[in-house]
Symmetry: C2
Subunit: 244 residues, 2 copies
Amino acid sequence: MAVSATTSSEPAARRPGYRRLPVQQRREQLIAVALELFASRPPEEVSLDDVAEAAGASRPLVYRYFAGKQQLYEAALRSAAEELAGRFTVPPDGTPTEQLSAVLDRYFDFVSEHHTGYGALLRGGSVVETARTGAIVDEVRRAALRRTVRHLGVREAAGPRLTLLVRSWISVVEASALSWLDEGRQIPPESLRDWLLDEFVVMTAATALHDPQTAEVLTRLLRQEGPDGRAAALAARLQGLLTQ
Amino acid sequence: MAVSATTSSEPAARRPGYRRLPVQQRREQLIAVALELFASRPPEEVSLDDVAEAAGASRPLVYRYFAGKQQLYEAALRSAAEELAGRFTVPPDGTPTEQLSAVLDRYFDFVSEHHTGYGALLRGGSVVETARTGAIVDEVRRAALRRTVRHLGVREAAGPRLTLLVRSWISVVEASALSWLDEGRQIPPESLRDWLLDEFVVMTAATALHDPQTAEVLTRLLRQEGPDGRAAALAARLQGLLTQ
């Protein structure tokens, strides 16, 4: 099992001297161990005993930090959410789709690292889900929405259709991550990423037909991509397909 | 309140003779009343007492049919899920996008009728959600997926990319329903429907660039739509936008 392997490569964690860890460090260690367990098993199959064992700690010690499994799950989820939101940082160089491409790569790395837990979370219906866990996930979605809108150079408030476009594309990203996990990660992530970039361009173009604000976004995007960029190449290939 | 109005227009439901309803009919009445309550309030704010009162029945009678609120919620959800899946029936005439258009109209009618309950369900994190309620929602999504794939004339098994496309578009439909509810249903549903149809065509076209099976679907779709159909008009308008 991946977790035992990791733990046994860090034998210090099992030494009786564990009580000497400072409070914040111990808390972070327990969250890290929990995240590793949630990554490979659905949250309902992870007990506080499992977390204590994998952390080389006693059950009472785990309870000193978290009132119960629900609290530990929420803390772990919050930690993962912060980590994911941190990956949305756009690299300074490149065209808009190149920058989006880098963010998608980091997103799929995250999904891969936290596969089972992330899948369970997006699928919903877990016994450890509550209005609070739902709010944590929604906060990440809102962060992704804000970042993407800003990335598109929109300085004013995003109108309902531009918001709908970006929310929709984010839901496509999530659906593709779930599909990817469901099918044993058969499609290479680079290939999914390229498909998502193409979908982003065409979804924006179709929305531009319905909304002046999105039309402005598209014009700016095409200018920044340039005549040899991804959007222009896509337009040329689509033209052939749609007028067959 | 909508529920009281309905109940008072059917005074028989409040008469002491309510116990004479046959078992199946009483069960259906309680589910219908519960659905009406869940439509305008989040599930956690609906009690069995509310259901009993709105149905003109006693609390013990409601308990005779459902072991508790969770069971009643699941029965109501199952009933709504069957109703929704029934609306996916494609009308026999029209081009593929005209047929899809009729299904989307019925879907937005459903969302409108069950607004609060549907929104709460899709947003997740409700205290009454369990693995079982998640499974009911997933079954509706799978039904939508199967119907859409069949509608596209695919007789063999849908490959991973075609499946991903249809799943993604269904997630866009759900995201747009949620956006619509969040923003007080400001965008007219016909306008959302037209946007969703355009997104369907362009998302299919972009996927066709990555997948031979989807390319076949697109070719068939364009042939069925004809040179004066929605897809051709969309292609012409997109051409102008993408080559600006």
